[in-house]
Symmetry: C2
Subunit: 255 residues, 2 copies
Amino acid sequence: MSATVPTETPVAVHASEGPAFSPLYQQIKALLVKSLQGGEWKPGEAIPSELELAARFRVSQGTVRKAIDELATDNLLVRRQGKGTYVATHAEENIQYRFLRLAPDEGPATGMARSFLDCRRIRAPADVARALDLKSGDSAVLVRRTLSRNERPVVLDEIWLPAGPFKGLTAERLSQYAGPMYGLFESEFGVRMIRAEEKIRAVVADASSAALLQVPEGSPLLSVERLAHTYGDKPVELRRGLYNTASHFYRNELN
Amino acid sequence: MSATVPTETPVAVHASEGPAFSPLYQQIKALLVKSLQGGEWKPGEAIPSELELAARFRVSQGTVRKAIDELATDNLLVRRQGKGTYVATHAEENIQYRFLRLAPDEGPATGMARSFLDCRRIRAPADVARALDLKSGDSAVLVRRTLSRNERPVVLDEIWLPAGPFKGLTAERLSQYAGPMYGLFESEFGVRMIRAEEKIRAVVADASSAALLQVPEGSPLLSVERLAHTYGDKPVELRRGLYNTASHFYRNELN
DNA sequence: TAGTGGTCTAGACCACATC
DNA sequence: ATGTGGTCTAGACCACTAA
């Protein structure tokens, strides 16, 4: 128990060592990320207390604290006063869709009904392969689905994933899983999404999109291309969404 | 010099005082915001050193530090190692448009050419009055302008401001001012924008928008409605933008 | 009551900018 | 050489949670 994790190799000290000085707490932060990435602590679990980590890394509590603080603002960890610090998880999140910024014009932002159209394995097109860092010819999983509110489809998503890490993903498993999709990815495939970039444009609906979203062909739609990354800024999901913004809007905060 | 600012009334101590416990550093933060709002330190100027502030508030440097840290992440202050801590300003910002999230598909994100269409004083329509917390019948300033890249218009903005604080704003002053518009608002009218929310939709161009943006009528455009706030979360600008996303996109980061 | 994170302090020293 | 912010420490005490 007390010795399962030996005192870590003391990190490089903060003496002037020529190039690339890095504060102790940044080094601790990197070590913690490594442990998270390596699965030493699983999503939803508590990590050791600050004092334990301080002993393990041979630094003061304050230094560990600063490292954890940054990981908490990065949403990799969640602090709970009196209880401990936990690995963030998509599974038990109150917010249904952590990255979905779509809100209804009126009424509460209730959950939306999912409907999976298909889930196929195909060779990744060149642009998808480029975005996901795949070699040309590598196969990918393509999932298509809609989200509806009040029986009306609002979102049409086309989700590209590298086939390797997502072996065994089927439309059935997607339908049966209750929580958010990223929760499934995390618990079943060990891929945790931590950050994403979106490129947003206005486009017009083509015939097939119009049919699926039940709008006239040529209607304006919001095109949202999301590239989601896991640890180490590795891109692992390319999601192309079309949003009907007739009674919804994409909300953003600028600071 | 040393006594121009007397020791501040010691803040409420952190004894259990029934309802609403607030950490010392939060109280310091509030006091600093008050000084910023009151103009004790102007945008671009340095605030007193951490040790000076610690003496003034009768707390430790670490407590002042934590308060300043939060104000820095809120973009109200800017820390410069070895020099001091400065009041953030829109005037001398490297980034041309702090809140504009539009990026070109190709090429660098160079500055865009502004062109002011008009600047009028009119009674605020009901929806604008509601957004800006004006009484119905209050007058407002309406500025219309375009932003162009490579001689092609990309953005058409309709900017609503409360007439009171912006007395004396004319199209001419807008055209003559070199920097970003928020820099003008800050230095000439004492209104500093701190935070904004945007609601984004896809729409189609009507006749007049299409003409100004040089696109066919019915083209898809990104509608970006921005509500910008100053200190105390007071809304002071409603900006309705139409973006041509044929060769540009709205970029967003999700954490 | 014990353990956790949260706050606050005082002091040392480092890195950076300026004179 | 001086002054600024940046890092790190050690220790005290508070607030919250759970047994």
